[in-house]
């Protein structure tokens, strides 16, 4: 930054930087800020796709909170999904990253295997899993039958459908794993050597060196997983279509249906703002309460040994 100052101090203020960043500025107005403001305005209206729109104030929000059981039901599904998916996603990514961080031959190959599902995502992922979950000739229930148990009707039983979506989503954890692996590899080896010399057991090294040193990465992946969990739509839309018995009817799917099936754009816009506020509040809360346990390199805390 001091270098940049050195250069600019010799120059008069110029238009050049603004020209370079202009694509993003324009895009921000046309594809982010504009739509957001528009959406906020829509949320205060009764706004059908065709026909007369009417200003209704906060009525959409009021209806949602007090008269719409489906709002609470779909929010519950999303919260349940997030509450199970986010911790599992991070725990499993962490486990795989730790395994890959052991110095054995062929880790590059294993790393590729874990990352591979990430590159396809979307419809293809759903089609692959639909096949595995099939009640009659699915691979998963065949594997379970070999173990001597009868597998459930994964996509047809409301008690199992959400778990089916969680497992299919976990298949794409490669990106999270890669971030944690990068974090692990940047922990100075000297820390572990010092611990080993002092006779600190392996589990204590994990607990007192690895996890604190990795905490910024864990926090980052926690927030990104949380955001993506709340937006979960494609997999449920194609794998279960929200069923059976609305057991996988996610919040995002209810928004989608309100907008594009029931053509109630105002109500859908209001719901999308509620989702945004929830995500924002959760992220900020996590950031605030994480300050106590997230360790940043070079940071000195009150105690002096942070």
């Amino acid at each position: 930054m001091s270098d940049a100052r050195r250069i600019s101090s010799r120059r008069r203020p110029s238009l050049a930087p603004w020209l370079f960043i202009s694509p993003w500025i324009l895009g921000f107005f046309f594809f982010t800020l504009g739509p957001m403001v528009f959406s906020l305005i829509m949320s205060l209206h009764d706004w059908p796709v065709v026909g007369e729109r009417k200003f209704v104030g906060l009525q959409n929000y009021q209806t949602m909170l007090t008269q719409d059981p489906m709002f609470w039901k779909s929010l519950g599904v999303t919260v349940k999904f997030a509450a199970i998916f986010v911790p599992l996603n991070i725990a499993l990514s962490f486990l795989l990253a730790v395994l890959l961080n052991v110095k054995v031959r062929g880790t590059a190959l294993f790393r590729t295997a874990f990352y591979l599902p990430c590159v396809i995502s979307g419809v293809a992922l759903v089609m692959i899993w639909k096949w595995i979950y099939s009640k009659d000739y699915g691979l998963l229930n065949y594997a379970l039958s070999l173990l001597g148990t009868e597998g459930p009707n994964w996509l047809g039983d409301p008690n199992w459908s959400i778990l089916a979506i969680i497992i299919a989503s976990l298949w794409g954890l490669g990106g999270t794993m890669l971030i944690l692996l990068a974090g692990l590899q940047s922990i100075p080896k000297e820390l572990y050597e010092a611990a080993r010399v002092s006779g600190v057991p392996a589990w204590a090294q994990t607990l007192f060196i690895t996890i604190p040193m990795l905490s910024p990465m864990l926090l980052f992946t926690f927030i990104t997983s949380l955001i993506s969990a709340f937006q979960q739509l494609t997999i449920a839309l194609l794998l279960t279509e929200g069923g059976p018995l609305k057991s996988t009817y996610f919040f995002a799917m209810y928004i989608y249906d309100n907008a594009f099936k029931f053509h109630d754009m105002g109500y859908a816009a209001a719901m999308s703002w509620v989702m945004f506020l929830i995500i924002l509040t959760l992220s900020l809360a996590v950031l605030k309460y994480s300050a106590a346990w997230v360790h940043y390199e070079g940071e000195v805390k009150g105690g002096g040994n942070g």
Partner: protein, 270 residues
């Protein structure tokens, strides 16, 4: 001991991660009878490669492929170009509000797609873009926060002396970007291009919302269409899924060095 356990766990988990791919590939070349057999047939008696052309003919997949290719190529070019321009602007200049603007840029990554989806639909409707490929291409020409952030990191690693030397030789800002920095950030551009390619190629929700006519469909929408039918054609689904997976997988194998290097930094090279 630790080594054996590690290997055991690594092999176990990679089998879990790879199995779904193999299963789909094997399904795609089975016969109808083998498909519904119980216990499942793992190795088809005869590999029916003809399943691929037959499935391809069940819908206008040629048209879908053309649409997908148009979207992916045009939007990837736009994304790489615009994101690198903006990244250069943020990395190499000092101007009023630069840092708050950059924070704002990072903050936009937290906005859920659902919030923008509805007003964007209205906006594109107003512009007459609905049922055209424009909503899937044009926004990519205005850069994306994550990619801008990534490319800015690349530019920041280039010593300032290089810029100063070029300025001494009379290069203006554009020449500095085009002649010096663009060639230097090729690995970053490959990475952005790849990530964008994968997003655009796999995208389902965007096309679902913005396209109506089957003649405008992209490949993922066509594959999704199999789903809604009464007679679910499982062989066709598996075959088209394999075809849909191929381009990103092939691309990944070519660029995986860049992806891993970027994520893992220089520590893996040593």
């Amino acid at each position: 001991m630790v080594r054996t356990l590690t290997y055991g766990a690594l092999i176990f988990f990679s089998a879990l991660f790879i199995a779904p791919f193999l299963w789909t590939l094997l399904t795609a070349v089975k016969s109808e009878a083998e498909l519904v057999a119980w216990p499942p047939v793992f190795w088809p008696e005869e590999w029916r490669w003809s399943n691929f052309p037959e499935s391809w003919a069940k819908q206008p997949f040629g048209t879908y492929l053309w649409n997908s290719t148009t979207v992916v190529v045009l939007s990837t070019i736009g994304q790489v170009f615009s994101s690198s321009l903006v990244a250069f602007g943020f990395a190499r200049f000092r101007f009023p509000c630069r840092d708050p603007l950059f924070v704002l840029l990072l903050a936009t990554m937290m906005i859920p797609w659902d919030v923008k989806m509805i007003p964007l639909y209205m906006e594109f409707n107003l512009l007459g873009w609905i049922n055209t490929l424009k909503p899937l291409i044009i926004p990519a020409w205005f850069g994306e926060a994550f990619f801008i952030f990534l490319l800015r990191q690349y530019i920041m690693t280039v010593p300032m002396e290089i810029d100063e030397a070029a300025r001494m030789d009379g290069a203006n800002a554009w020449q500095l970007y085009w002649r010096i920095h663009l060639p230097l950030m090729v690995p970053g551009l490959v990475l952005v291009g790849t990530f964008h390619f994968m997003n655009a190629w796999n995208d389902y929700l965007g096309p679902l919302i913005f396209l109506n006519d089957q003649s405008k469909y992209t490949l993922p929408l066509g594959l999704g269409l199999f789903q809604g039918r009464y007679d679910i054609d499982n062989i066709a689904i598996a075959a088209i899924t394999v075809i849909l997976c191929l381009p990103p997988l092939v691309l990944f194998f070519f660029v995986q060095r860049y992806i891993m290097d970027n994520a893992l930094g220089s520590s893996v090279k040593g």
